[in-house]
Amino acid sequence: MAFEGIGASVRRTEDQRFLSGRGNYTDDINRPGQLYAIIRRSDRPHARIVSIDTKAAAEMPGVVAVYTGTDLQADNVGGLPCGWLIKNKDGTPMAEPPHPVLAVGKVRHVGDPLAVVIAETRQQAKDAAEKLAIEWQDLPSISSTQDAIAPGAALVHDDVEGNVCYDWHLGDKEAVDAAFAKAARVVRLDLTNSRLIPNAMEPRAAIGDFDRATGEHTLFTTSQNPHVIRLLMGAFVLHIPESHLRVVAPDVGGGFGSKIYHYAEEAIVTWAAGKLGRPVKWTAERTESFISDAHGRDHVTTAEMAIDKDGNYLALRVKTLANMGAYLSTFATSIPTYLYATLLAGVYKTPAIYAEVKAVFTNTVPVDAYRGAGRPEAAYLLERLTDVIAHDTGLDRVALRRQNLIPANAFPYQTPVALQYDSGNYQATLESALKAADWNGFPARRAAAAAKGKLRGIGISTYIEACGIAPSAVAGALGARAGLYEAANIRVHPTGSVSVFTGSHSHGQGHETTFAQLVADQLGIPFNQVEIVHGDTEKIPFGMGTYGSRSLAVGGSAMVKAMDKIIAKGKRIAAHLMEASVADIEFKNGSFSVAGTDKSKSFGEIALTAYVPHNYPIDELEPGLEENAFYDPKNFTFPAGCMVAEVEIDRDTGVPSVVSFVAVDDVGRLINPMIVEGQVHGGVAQGIGQALLESATYDVSGQIVTGSFMDYTMPRSDNLPSFKTGNEVTLCTHNPLGVKGCGELGTIGSPPAIVNAVIDALSEYDVRHIDMPLSPQKIWSIVAAGPKRKAAE
């Protein structure tokens, strides 16, 4: 049998069903007697709802019900809650305006849901939704981040003054001011981090079902974390106790953060199914996804680095305006604070950092975590700033990075922005990436490109990521309204096969494979004897789901804890069977043996004994072999690495193409290297998308300009190169597996590497910075303006 344990690139278990068309995604499910819901959404960015006349719609063929926000309000349906309370600089709580499931009184962005039509067929519901007669009174709207705080700006929420959700800060302002006062030089950069649309290929969908006999509600939904949805929707929105609410997230077709949040449609179908006593299904059309899935990023930032005469970083000062959109999505408020400002040390030993973050409301789709969430914004800022420092001072950009890296012997390393890095070796990833990319051979490649009439550039970026946000107590003190542990249940069956029930949930990461490898390895049983069960609140004890690259570091650790309990119980059974003392029993490679003897019992024999307890220490030990564990991490994990990109620019068209891309990452121990590599590829592709192609754009009137795949440029296969990846390994010191996480690093490290490469390609034009996406138009206009002579420094 091929090695299938920890470290093997085992081919994925889930692929068999996905490849043969037997995946089971939410929209593939149909319930008997099912009705279809179509949501009528606002096409206005900001307007008062004068009236909604539902009569004509209700009379259309097949229509069963039409509901508006007032119907839900009358039935005591609550608003969508926000999961993280941020406090202002002065200690007062953030502004937290209501987020109704269906708009009441006002709509606040294009796509804001305001009515639902439920009919026998989808087409009938669609036809009827068009018959809703809505009388509007348009209001002035805010479509850009900066406009939100302009004097006299329209108010998105009437009682949120100046559109400010919070005004927060982190770090030691005095220390930073003092360092700036004596710095040899200060380098400043203004930049934006563009707004993105996650666009998982599976559109969101939800089916509400209601069992009239038992009064139980079931929600099938495209979710990364069904337990969180059950908790939020049950407790805050629909007031259904956990015992009567089951949430099932079957196969999930990508999420990248966008399927973490509790969305209005989930509450609508669950509530309507209860009202009507029939299942109600809603599936987003892609156009709807563009205006209802949470968007990502959207920061406007000023960053300043104080340096000494040799380029050593003395202090960093950052001021960021973060767009929340029209309402607070579930975890929106934590992203530009605890997942962004806390990462501003990066891999550098900058001794003093001060960040101010102002979060604002605008008439746009709510913004929340999208792959990387806060950490890409921090890495982009640092790595662009580092290249700009090199540009302004004439220092070498690689040397500048080398000299400012946190040394490998400095761990654990306390940053000035609250985090403590447990392990890492940033020199190793940097040097290894430079080597893999043949950094030193670049001039020859540039010359060869020039001979073909192309501009070639090379760019580098380092990054750090914080995964598996934790511990619960610390996060709670900072405003988190949830725990951040993960749960696992390990059920050993009488035959020795094992079912693992995990609160983590795969939306493409291959958990059915990686987790089975982990459990098979630790219990010494064959890989195919392990079944992974996830995505159903009725089967899994509890869970916080999958986000922030936490599943292995937190969910996997919970499994290890549960397995430790299984092994401990197994030892007691084995000791009884072999008439030895428990202390003398060793467990290795799937067998329990008595130390120093040749007596042993296999894992299967112990399992059988536990369920057929004829010869069993029944007075001291319960029969059965099944254990639960909750794991609350002691700290974040800190994957880090270095990426190097090379681009070529066509002078005539300004089209940039990525011709080479290297990523060398430290993700701790690798369980399945093939899957890790796939995660890096996917993340890098999305990062290249942000750097060169993607941007969610609103026009001044508040309409979204990039509202379909025709306008929103998703990376296609011919926009991307093949990637070179590598690993350096330092183990996480505080979880039992030494793992760190790998889901988001691609989107964190790659945008600055690409932008730095493009700016390098344009070096003869002396460009200091261009905001993403680096479209052919932006590049072409620089090339067309002709080379600039460098100003004398």
Partner: protein, 165 residues
């Protein structure tokens, strides 16, 4: 309601459809063949690609009635009856060319047509161009390109000639 008769995965079927019913709706909703997916409403993602008389087609861009008398193959119809996967399916698995699996059926159907229609061989660039109509948000395409290159020799029964760039 009009009726349409066609062959799907080798079986003859006759189904009542509305004039406006799309082929993908017929497959997913009337025949329960949910392996064919819908990822967009502007004919751009390729999640819905099937074979119509052997050629790849976006089933969201066609009315069900237009498929009258034609032969449709979906992802469910690729494997042999004993469960043996098509070489393209096999290579997708071998090279980790799928993550969430949502784009996969369309991707596999497009890839098979691409390989079949290039008996002279395929370069990496040709594969990348050939996949322009299929979006994948998970894999970054790297492993999909590898899988298709690996499937070519299996499907053509010979090693791939060094293709013209």
């Amino acid at each position: 309601m009009p009726q349409v008769a066609l062959t799907v995965n080798g079986k003859k079927v006759t189904v009542d459809v509305e004039g406006r019913t799309l082929l993908v709706e017929l497959l997913r909703e009337k025949l329960g063949l949910t392996g064919t997916h819908v990822g967009c409403d502007t004919s751009q993602c390729g999640a819905c690609v099937i074979h119509l008389d052997g050629a790849s087609v976006k089933s969201c861009t066609m009315l069900a009635l237009q498929a009258a008398g034609r032969s449709v193959t979906t992802i469910e119809g690729l494997a042999k009856s004993d469960g043996t996967l098509h070489p393209m399916q096999e290579m997708f698995r071998e090279h980790h060319a799928l993550q969430c699996g949502f784009c996969t059926p369309g991707m596999v159907m497009s890839a098979i047509d691409l390989v079949q229609s290039h008996p002279e061989g395929l370069s990496e660039q040709q594969i990348r161009h050939g996949l322009e109509g299929n979006l994948c948000r998970c894999t970054g395409y790297h492993n999909i390109v590898k899988a298709i290159a690996a499937a070519w020799p299996l499907m053509h029964g010979k090693t791939m000639p060094a293709a013209a760039e």
